[in-house]
């Protein structure tokens, strides 16, 4: 299940990602031509973050598995739509994954279960901290999140990991809408610089 190469799923630095990223881009281009071995390789490299981020947003394991399967199948089906000139393969796949998780959350907003999520999200930073293991990715992201102001950090984690809209984030943090938009953007700019994203 886990990739043979321990480095395979690492998002270590911008340069390393560019190197590994190009490799992954090539694989995804091969997937678009119906190469099943390339698809297996893409699966092994990205299933961890795909499932992980969906699980973070949806929480429910069986729904998360269902959405993750849909996303990975969508990657297979629509690989021809991937354009390496616009962005890397990992970003393309994980943008789809997060978007599908959010679609599921938004379509089920009226359903039960959302309430207990709201109750739990008051400690988003602790959740991040909990999830931090020895992994370099986690360390780096945590270090960069730690460097943000509290409101920046909480608004980014509530939005991305918690699946909340910026209006919900504003309500949860008792900050105005305008301020939340700015905090999210400023926080992401600082994250971008801290992570060395070009």
């Amino acid at each position: 299940m886990s990739p043979n190469d321990p480095d395979a799923s690492r998002f270590t630095s911008a340069t390393a990602d560019r190197r590994g990223g190009r490799d992954l881009d090539d694989l995804l281009v091969q997937v678009a031509r119906g190469d099943t071995e390339a698809f297996e390789a893409v699966y092994d490299r990205l299933v961890g973050p795909v499932y992980g981020v969906i699980r973070r947003v949806l929480r429910d394991p069986s729904q998360s598995e269902e959405v993750a399967q849909e996303v990975l199948l969508e990657v297979w089906r629509t690989a021809a739509r991937f354009d390496p000139a616009v962005g890397g393969a990992a970003t393309w796949v994980l943008t789809i994954a997060h978007r599908r998780a959010i679609d599921r959350v938004r379509s089920a907003t009226a359903a039960a279960g959302r309430e207990h999520k709201t109750a739990e999200v008051h400690t988003p930073h602790d959740e991040v901290a909990e999830a931090v293991e020895a992994s370099l990715d986690r360390e780096r992201v945590r270090r960069c999140l730690d460097a943000l102001t509290d409101v920046q950090r909480e608004s980014i984690t509530l939005a991305y990991y918690g699946g909340h809209s910026y209006r919900q984030v504003a309500d949860l943090l008792k900050v105005t809408l305008g301020a939340i938009k700015t905090r999210i953007r400023d926080g992401l700019i600082r994250m971008r610089d801290c992570l060395g994203v070009s």
Partner: protein, 252 residues
């Protein structure tokens, strides 16, 4: 509400994290990006941050998922690359094909799909089933609302009629049937996309209610495909094992 340009810019972060409030707001910002290269660049950078956050949240997926995804991929047709100019030719062909089906049968088909969708809800027992039906219905209603759909219908050689709503641009179709003969136990009706070189399963027809089967959504329809229907031993076959009782060329 009118937004000042400055306000629109400040949404780039929320947009990159999928945190805008509504589809409409999301679409409006997407349109804005096509006119604002610096915003598009900013969003690209933010999405890389989001990717790093996804990697930081990496979790081992449930065992068995890999086999399921690879098996599903093996029976899922891929979308062909978009070729410029192709869609115009396709639209022209679709329009030429339209008069082939009387308008009324189209309206009836759409109505029967709507009824069948509703029926699916009534028959769902668990939250999972309900979610699945909801997702499928969302896909079907998207298809039905696409600007260019073609309605086709044809009798099978064994009686009964299959009606197809084809959205060529989306590479998707929805099939409903009416009046197909009931099958002996242990047999199922299976749909196929029969291409020039390969034949792919497009799913099983669900059990009929009052002679009608609930809609089945098939994806990955490509140029040259024919929709086929065969009787197969349950739970369906990897490739057709009997002569199709219906072969409907698809004007994609």
């Amino acid at each position: 509400m009118r937004l000042f340009r400055h306000d629109l810019h400040s949404l780039s972060g929320a947009y990159a994290l999928d945190a805008l409030e509504t589809e409409a707001e999301h679409d409006r910002f997407t349109r804005h990006l096509s006119r604002c290269p610096s915003c598009a660049g900013e969003v690209r950078g933010f999405r890389e941050v989001a990717t790093a956050m996804a990697f930081a949240a990496a979790t081992e997926a449930p065992p068995g998922m890999r086999d399921q995804v690879l098996a599903a991929a093996a029976r899922t047709r891929q979308l062909p690359p978009e070729v410029a100019g192709e869609s115009r030719a396709r639209q022209k062909r679709s329009r030429a094909w339209m008069p082939w089906v009387p308008w009324l049968s189209g309206a009836v088909a759409v109505a029967s799909i709507a009824v069948a969708v509703f029926f699916g809800f009534a028959q769902a027992h668990t939250q999972d089933e309900l979610d699945q039906i909801r997702a499928q219905n969302q896909a079907i209603s998207l298809l039905l609302s696409s600007p260019q759909v073609t309605l086709l219908s044809k009798s099978t050689t064994e009686g009964g009629v299959a009606t197809v709503v084809l959205a060529a641009a989306r590479h998707q179709l929805v099939v409903v049937t009416n009046g197909l003969p009931a099958l002996p136990a242990g047999h199922v009706y299976q749909l196929w996309l029969i291409g020039k070189t390969t034949t792919t399963s497009a799913g099983l027809l669900p059990a009929a209610t009052d002679g009608r089967t609930p809609p089945v959504l098939a994806t990955g329809v490509v140029k040259g495909d024919t929709l086929g229907l065969t009787v197969e031993p349950a739970p369906g076959s990897a490739q057709p094992t009997t002569t199709p009782i219906l072969a409907l060329p698809l004007p994609v």
